[in-house]
């Protein structure tokens, strides 16, 4: 049981926007829209539209790999790789991971830069249920590319309630 040290249930909006904004600025030395404050309430379409901010999203260049069948939604191995030269002038800025059947659709934003060498990130994520996960890559030229993967989340027989 975690210590009840943090009394807030929801994160404050200001902290999120400050943290994300500072990161992006440091990475790209350019202005970063305060997109982080957006609470998507599990609506992937809204979350993606908010990131796109009117820009076109093209399918492709993003290879999102998740297991087709996840044994437990608590830990789902994720790998995302974006086709990019990753040079000083042409690189992947941010990769957004979005899962619309989760209570909060945005799972993570990975910030990369020319020093990343290659645009590949691996992590483990939670999926509340069977769904399609989207990875949205934002390039240094402002274009947006996306890749998706459908995951079937199964239930174990041997649950012991913790």
């Amino acid at each position: 049981m975690p210590q009840p040290s943090c009394t807030r249930i929801l994160p404050t909006l200001s902290r999120r926007s400050v943290v994300a904004g500072a990161t992006a600025a440091a990475l790209t030395r350019s202005a970063w829209p305060a997109a982080a404050a957006f609470e998507d309430d599990g609506n992937a379409t809204a979350a993606i539209a908010h990131i796109a901010a009117g820009r076109e999203i093209k399918p492709g260049r993003v290879k999102l790999v998740l297991p087709e069948l996840a044994e437990n939604g608590n830990v789902v191995a994720l790998s995302v790789e974006v086709e990019s030269a990753m040079t000083a002038t042409d690189f992947v800025k941010t990769i957004h991971i979005i899962a619309g059947q989760n209570p909060l659709a945005i799972i993570a934003r990975y910030h990369l830069g020319p020093r990343s060498g290659r645009a590949r990130v691996q992590s483990t994520i939670r999926l509340a249920t069977t769904q399609t996960v989207t990875a949205l890559a934002e390039m240094s030229d402002g274009t947006l590319w996306s890749g998706t993967m459908s995951v079937l989340v199964t239930l174990s027989a041997c649950l012991d309630g913790g």
Binding site: M1, P2, Q3, P4, S5, C6, T7, R8, I9, L10, P11, R15, R16, V19, A20, T23, A26, L27, A36, N74, V75, V76, I97, A99, N102, P103, L104, I106, I107, A108, R109, Y110, H111, L112, G113, R115, S116, G117, R118, R120, V121, Q122, S123, T124, I125, R126, L127
Partner: protein, 110 residues
Amino acid sequence: MADTPHPTRISMPATAKRGDIIDIKTLIQHEMETGYRRDANGRVIPRDIVAHFEVRYLDEIIFAADTFAGVSANPYFAFSTIVGDSGPVTFTWTDLAGRKTVETRTLTVT
């Protein structure tokens, strides 16, 4: 627990050649309490998550992540960087309350 740094594990080479792309893997022991669960008495367990992770190599950010409740407990990240000069690589995990866990490794260029 809450005020002490969380245990971490960082896997990266200690030495590398300039211009090489190296892989770095990190783990931090953290429950990533979502804020959606309730305890035995029906009270919401407060959200307690790592909200931000940042990696600096010679003071330049080489990887960062904004993380939410959908990231698994004991968060794992694998990413890469291009080797430049010898120097420190600093890893900083920050939770929602602003508490930080900081680790540093030295990358020696051969």
